[in-house]
Symmetry: C2
Subunit: 140 residues, 2 copies
Amino acid sequence: MQIERMIRRFREAGLKITPQRVAIFEYLYTTTSHPTVDDIYAYITGRFPSVSLTTVYNTLQTMVGLGEIEEIAISHERRNFDPDTRPHSHIMCVKCKRIEDIYTDNLSENCLPESVRKRYRILGQRIYFYGLCSRCVAEK
Amino acid sequence: MQIERMIRRFREAGLKITPQRVAIFEYLYTTTSHPTVDDIYAYITGRFPSVSLTTVYNTLQTMVGLGEIEEIAISHERRNFDPDTRPHSHIMCVKCKRIEDIYTDNLSENCLPESVRKRYRILGQRIYFYGLCSRCVAEK
DNA sequence: TTTTATATTAAAATGATTACAAATTAAAAA
DNA sequence: TTTTTAATTTGTAATCATTTTAATATAAAA
Ligand SMILES: [Mn+2]
Ligand SMILES: [Mn+2]
Ligand SMILES: [Zn+2]
Ligand SMILES: [Zn+2]
């Protein structure tokens, strides 16, 4: 399971397995959303009332460093994290801010001309779409 | 010219033309980079030593509202603005943070499946690439 | 069980952005 | 041109997200 994998990855990196960290793993891998720091903190607080925000920040940063979760830069208002590291893109409703996954075979590779590609060591790519979801269109 | 256009757009919107605003227009349309609030503030300060950061924020926000500049969400560390509203994408060097434009005929349209498209009113899309520029590759 | 290096916590510091209210000014009206 | 007025600018304070710090607690090795 994903959680076991994260525990193993942390162990391999010489990091300790703490109940706070495990709770964060559990939250990340049992929700299909793209949680913010506060989403995660709110959940963890329910299980460890004295947990510190710092712990949440630290753990997320460590996971990003291990390449096990990714930051979604779709909005400046909030920082979202994605425990799904398979290549995929996202669409966000500009009204309700919900983020949905988009899986497609069409990669953005062909959007990067050779002339640019040969001047960079490419490390990653992201595609974001913005719109109004049907729910929000209906409302207003 | 672009600056004249912005003055006209502001006038049409019933907004006043102030020297601070014009200086911001000038900076935006005579630099090819993707400036941050601080880049702009630093420049304006050179011409109006007493200018307020608030004025810079307000003017940028107004211009975004008018659809005359766009926010680039390529990084959470900094907020970049782009006075070029033609469809194009960006590549950022993760080391030196420089952002380069990418113009290509290949749109990301085909990365958005019909199944998703029919559930949203699409308003925009962004493609970001991340990598190391040749300069930074050479250095380390 | 003891030891020790790492992690957690609470609090303070930092940095970015927004809110506010008083002073200034662009531009319309006279 | 001068007067008027509503919008804008400014300086300050408030807010919010994130990082730093140092003391305390604890996972895991010995
Ligand atoms: Mn996702
Ligand atoms: Mn650009
Ligand atoms: Zn919505
Ligand atoms: Zn670089």
